[in-house]
Amino acid sequence: MKILMVDDSPLQRLALASLLEVEGYTDVLQVESPLEALCYLRQETADSIDLILMDLNMPGMNGIEACRQIKTLPKCQDIPIIMVTSSDEMDDLKHAFAAGAMDYLTKPPNEAELLARLRSALRLKQETDRRKAREQELQRLNGRLEQVLTNLAEQHHMLQLEQEKSERLLLNILPSSVAQQLKQSPGVIAERFEEVTVLFADIVDFTPLSASIPPEELVNLLNDIFSLFDHLAEKHGLEKIKTIGDAYMAVGGLPMPMENHATAVANMALDIQCEMNRLFNGRLQVRIGLHTGPVVAGVIGKKKFIYDLWGDTVNTASRMESHGLTGNVQVTEATYHHLKDHYLLEKRGTIQVKGKGNVVTYLLLGHRRDFVNDRLPTFLG
């Protein structure tokens, strides 16, 4: 508890200080003029003052002006100032209060009065100090909270970017409905589809070709062809499953069920043949096989997983391709039944399929609307 006493009279200072000492207030800094007081209060390193006792009438600067100037110092605004006045100076008190004084004492001060006014002023100062400290602490905490929130927002943004990136990658390898399902419940996803149409397309004589041109060129060529197939799959609403070497696998009717899966796949097969003819004019040809039936589709494993199909239907479709004719589309009887109304098909006969015995197959010639009397017009054939 440090008290600053400003009085020009050594006698009055001593009288007041000895009163204070009796009450236990021993840390009293005495100065004889307001200028000296201001000089002390302006020092950066000065001890903080808890209370100022200010003589009202002093030669030079009086106590009222001293109050005003002390109150302009930022760190002194909360220091209570008690004016010490003669009883005939009451009129000046209102100016002192206007200048920031908090209370007053008449000369010579009565012990009880001095003590009471001192205590109330000091209590007020303590409360103000405590409140300010709390406010500062709150402000500090608030600042930290804001920083944490900013960091969080930044992290969230980064995370979002990462998530978007992985989302794009995921959608590139998995159908979006499957990606959603996988994100929500990781694990095995396997779903049975009662009727889909599977397509296998194989580039004929690609293996001998790969020996005659540089690998980079070969990969570029394959990329061009399969990108074209991807485009066609998208156009017909089919799901590309994968490529196996120089073979391409796609399916119609999943993961979203599709009523006309067989005709969509047939259209893609015809488009592939047509485009290959247009681009390579017989130098590169494709063999295509289709089959319609039930499959199980899903994602298994933990790494490098793909959305894949399983079941006899897949094997049969693959056999249709491998046992097919170059530049043709070979289909099973199951697919034939779906297509026969709108497409022209030619029965190929019975072929031996490993594991299945004799199978009746058809060659898909084209859409009926492209034919006149079941014959291809000369300008198309």
């Binding site: 020009d8 009279s9 050594p10 006698l11 009055q12 001593l14 009288a15 200080a17 000895s18 000492e21 009796v22 009438n57 030669p59 003669s86 005939d88 000369k107 010579p108």
Partner: protein, 114 residues
């Protein structure tokens, strides 16, 4: 003023109860003496502002030691200075000097008692 109280005994008793009591009285004698000198100059130069200031200080200080008459007389002198009516200032100053001498004497006696 003869026979009247020079120093208020209640005030003096309280002062002397304190460690700093004698020092306080000595300071009063010194300070009041200085102010009387200032007052003398002020009165002889008929300077009302200086009279007012010095008399005010003497008045306050005298109240601290219970020098009742010095207090009253300096208050009167301060009033003259404030009103700028210095006709009786001389007279009042002389009374003040006489009263201060008695205060000094009383204080000396108090010191001798101890």
């Amino acid at each position: 003023m003869e026979g009247q109280i020079i120093l208020d005994s209640t005030v003096i008793t309280r002062i002397l109860q304190r460690q700093s009591g004698r020092h306080l009285l000595a300071l009063y004698v010194e300070e009041a003496g200085g102010m009387l000198q200032t007052l003398e100059t002020a009165v002889s130069h008929a300077n009302p502002q200086l009279i007012r200031e010095a008399a005010h200080s003497l008045k306050s200080s005298s109240a601290y030691v219970g020098a009742v008459h010095v207090n009253t007389l300096s208050a009167a002198l301060e009033q003259l200075g404030r009103q700028e009516q210095l006709e009786t200032a001389d007279l009042l100053f002389n009374q003040l000097c006489g009263e201060f001498e008695r205060v000094k004497e009383s204080i000396r006696q108090l010191e001798n008692q101890r």
